[in-house]
Symmetry: C2
Subunit: 232 residues, 2 copies
């Protein structure tokens, strides 16, 4: 399937890599293709520049946000939270309309250092902001509650763990569920929380995620919802 991934950072690269290996025709979307491919330095995570990554993944196309949105039948938002609405504006409402957008971004504010606060929370969420801005897009929030590596390699944890779905369109959530299965997620690991307002719940997992990252010293962990029997 023709798939667009907005954002060329670690999340965008990892998702693009996995989709590419699964046979999707992937286009990465970025603000300025030339500038993105000219960067020679490692990024803030110490990863090689995009042009080196692209040499290893020559079948993945790189275009502007608008070109990627036009290309994709299925869209993935892997931009930074603060870059999400500008990226979608650059992509253009007409290129997004009617499509499913898997939204992985979190509204993290790193302007005051680590741990980051949220730029929106409690009575609103980034997922809802995107859905309100593009009512014709079928926004599904998912995968935003874990590190990038685990998103596409869920079996690398020793036991069952959880991925959440939030979105208004049941069919779109079913499509994301299929995608998750192709990434290695088991059906019983997926919890559909309900409509897009439930993204408030998953985005507000980030404040404890960043503190667990600090306490454990790494990001190879995830939340699992352990369910029991209701006592009689």
């Amino acid at each position: 399937m023709k798939t667009a991934v907005f954002g060329t950072g670690p999340v965008g690269q990892t998702i693009a890599d996995k989709l590419n290996s699964l046979g999707h025709e992937v286009m990465l979307g970025t603000r300025d293709v030339k500038a993105s491919l000219q960067r020679a330095d490692k990024d803030s995570f110490g990863r090689p520049p995009l042009k080196d990554w692209h040499k290893e993944h020559p079948t993945v196309k790189i275009g502007t946000f608008a070109e990627a949105a036009l290309h994709g039948e299925f869209l993935v938002n892997a931009t930074n939270g603060t870059g999400t609405l500008p990226a979608l504006a650059a992509a253009g409402a007409a290129n997004l309309a009617g499509k499913i957008l898997l939204d992985i971004a979190n509204p993290l504010d790193f302007s005051k250092g680590f741990p980051p606060a949220l730029t929106v929370c409690n009575t609103d969420s980034l997922g809802e902001q995107v859905q309100r801005a593009y009512p014709d897009v079928k926004v599904v929030k998912s995968l935003n509650t874990m590190n990038t590596y685990l998103m596409v390699a869920p079996r690398s944890l020793p036991s069952t763990h959880t991925v959440f779905l939030s979105g208004n369109d049941t069919g779109a959530k079913d499509r994301v569920r299929e995608l998750l299965r192709s990434f290695g997620w088991e059906n019983n690991e997926v919890i559909d929380l309900g409509d897009i307002t439930t993204a408030r719940g998953t985005e507000q997992l980030l404040p404890i995620w960043v503190r667990l990252y600090g306490t454990l010293g790494h990001g190879m962990f995830n939340f699992n919802i352990v369910k029991g029997e209701v006592p009689k």
Copy 2:
């Protein structure tokens, strides 16, 4: 040990019951003892009135917040989030000073119905508000991320799950850890997130907790942090 439990709702009753069964000398603290014991109706959870509960737990004393605080060497805040600061003000700073306060309350705002929002979050937390208001008190936030039943009966879930600690005083956290062990928690289920600012992380689990409660239809679940190996 002489233990005070502020709050006579389901959380207060459940914690008091467990502490009583473990041999603590428990006093429940409430705003108006006479009014609390006169209530004849079931509460909003359909539970019998406090006076019936008290008949079944005659060794648990019931006093004002100030009497309970004076009685307790160890304090538990099981009030509603919106009632926490008024309850502690009624308890009196002098009666609280130097003691450990296990803070279980969550700053939930039910004024607009279900699911509730938070009254404080993101850049502050109820745990921090309490610690700032009573700098001499050793505040430890814990047990606030699950339903009351599981707090004192953790083995009723089928597998390992997690309870978090947040607080500035290591000795106080060790004491709470001991208490958790006496409730049935395993050492490897307790994660110390760090100082009291990390209560922002656990209190912000409530927005997803209430949505999971809606999705699953019951509160017999908890978060488990599944840890893996860092890839080389």
